[in-house]
Amino acid sequence: MSSKTVSAASPAGFVSSRRWLVWSGIIALCAWVLVPIYLVALGALGGRQGVYQWPKTGLPTGISIEPFLLFLRTEGVVQSFLNSLGAAGITVALSIILGAPAGYALARYNFHGKDSYRLLVLLTRAFPLAILALPLTVSFIRLGLYDTITGVGLIHTVLALPFAALVTQGIFLGVPKELEEAAWVFGCTRIQAFFKIVAPLALPGIVATAVFAFVISWNEVFAASVLTVRNRTLTAYLLTVLSESPMHYRFAGGLLLILPSVVFIFAVRRYLFAIWGISSK
């Protein structure tokens, strides 16, 4: 009520204060994300002196790519980086291939035990991984999956899949059923209708789900540490190696962990925004 009176009295002042609020919000959010990344990058690229320098200037003085390259040449870094990418790739692919159809079924069909199914899907996350670690290791050894990237990818898929199914359910619910029915009437089979109509409209949400699965896999460290010995993912590798490394190595490792996520999200950002506005109303 009072804000209405104010806006009527001085619309310009109201608008500018509103804009000020919006911008300060944007800046705060950006800083929240960017400042830590910047500090990590500073530590990684500043070399030994930069890390121990005190007081910190916060300015990029004396930085070079050299310490970072040195870190990359350390044995196992590149390999574990590739391992991480591999595990994340498997996770993303399987989560979408298995999770999206499950989400579609949850969104479009009514079947017995739908609610319990949904609960069950979530319950898979109720078992702490630590309890499962030993039996998992044993069965992985028997199955020949132990110390392989496929094995890690499978476990990460288990972690990401429940969310993939539930998130895509919401996305498919957002695509009006009438659009699909119109496609059927105008000559599509169910599968054609899905790929011609539903999939393009659900794409932004599916991509967001993919990002989510990627991040889950990329950041996961416990299962990866337990289930691998030589073929470590980057997180698992860094965890074992870095505690004995000099400070600027640790920062370099941190930077290497951050970068792929940033690049990946940047690459798919276009699909994260609904271009057409999903509803036809």
Partner: protein, 352 residues
């Protein structure tokens, strides 16, 4: 072109019976409306014809071919949806062309058909736009053009105008009639709006609680409702129902006598259209107590009671009646419907 035969279709959702043995035949090239209040089963019936819903039992034949069990795409029909359902990620051109593309029509034919349909619906200038840049009325035109572009044997429309505002609805209604008359397609049109159904249809099927109560031309349904529901649902104001005593096979109204139907018992319901009356001096006329008189410009609407039963009648705007008056009415003999007080069904017309 094709006729449609709906043969004893039943549909139940759990214990709820949405359709109870509905049968209806629609002739080739005919425009038939399914009219009824929400929840009467009209949309369910349309979706069963389209193949979007499965009937519990019964048969649907399009052009003498049973289509039960066929997917929608193999039924040779097109549909216009209530929420338009235009594809938001395709241009208007691709939307209109969608059905043809699915039929693998060559580019020349697609182009010719799209331009023809777009011309009929006046959307040529929007062909390269996306639907989110269009108003509701324009989107509905796109949806109709998409349906007409495939030259369907059967066109199904599910409340296509209900999302438009009143003025646009009137305009689109007139335009639909022009377009569909020239297309000559067998059309089933679902609506709850009686004026749409009356204005557009060759015949109207009035539905209520999963049953077709009456099928007939608009004039027929209006003047000779088969049931009390039909009379009450169609017409504004709705038909008046006055319960009157029968003595010696006659009903007395003021100074006039009417022959009651043979089947009637001691009482009969007199169904009277509001405008089927004229003012008459009192001892001769049927007495009506006017509670409210509303001059509407084109006519005078009177709400009150006859025999202590509520009625609404319409008189010419030139008459002067005020709220609180008691007036006499002369009933139009030819426009009276007699109904059974028990079943609510109308009796066959009796010679006046």
């Amino acid at each position: 072109m094709a006729n449609i035969v709906i043969d004893r279709i039943r549909k139940s959702f759990g214990s709820f019976e949405a359709l109870k043995e509905v049968s209806l035949t629609i002739n080739d090239g005919e425009f038939v409306s399914l009219l009824g209040p929400s929840g009467c089963g009209k949309t369910t019936l349309l979706r069963i014809i389209a193949g979007l819903e499965t009937a519990t039992s019964g048969d649907v034949r399009i052009g003498d071919r049973s289509v039960i069990g066929l997917p929608p795409k193999d039924r040779g029909l097109a549909m216009v949806f209530q929420n338009y359902a235009v594809f938001p990620h395709m241009t208007v051109y691709e939307n209109v062309a969608f059905g043809l593309r699915m039929q693998k029509a060559d580019d020349a034919r697609v182009k010719a058909q799209v331009e023809k349909a777009a011309g009929l619906l006046h959307i040529e200038q929007y062909l390269d736009r996306y639907p989110n840049k269009l108003s509701g009325g324009q989107r509905q035109r796109v949806a109709v053009a998409r349906a007409l572009a495939v030259e369907p044997k059967v066109l199904l429309m599910d409340e296509p105008l209900s999302n438009l505002d009143a003025l646009l609805r009137l305009e689109m209604r007139t335009e639909l009639k022009t377009v569909l008359q020239s297309a000559g397609t067998t059309t089933i049109y679902v609506t709850h709006d009686q004026t749409e159904a009356m204005g557009l249809s060759d015949r109207i099927a009035v539905m209520h609680n999963g049953v077709v109560e009456q099928v007939g031309t608009p004039v027929d349904v209006y003047n000779h409702p088969a049931t009390r529901f039909v009379g009450g649902f169609i017409g504004n104001p709705p038909m008046n129902f006055i319960k009157v005593p029968v003595s010696n096979g006659q009903v007395v109204a003021g100074a006039e006598q009417f022959v009651a139907p043979k089947e009637a018992g001691g009482e009969v319901v007199l169904g009277l259209r509001g405008e089927a009356v004229e003012l008459a001096p009192l001892p001769q006329g049927l007495e009506m107590k006017v509670r409210v008189a509303e001059p509407m410009g084109s006519h005078l609407l009177l709400t009150g009671s006859i025999h202590d039963q509520p009625v609404r009648v319409i008189l010419p705007a030139s008459e002067t009646v005020r709220s609180g008056d008691t007036i006499g009415l002369k009933l139009d003999r030819n426009r009276i419907t007699w109904l059974s007080p028990e079943s609510g069904k109308s009796y066959p017309a009796v010679a006046a």
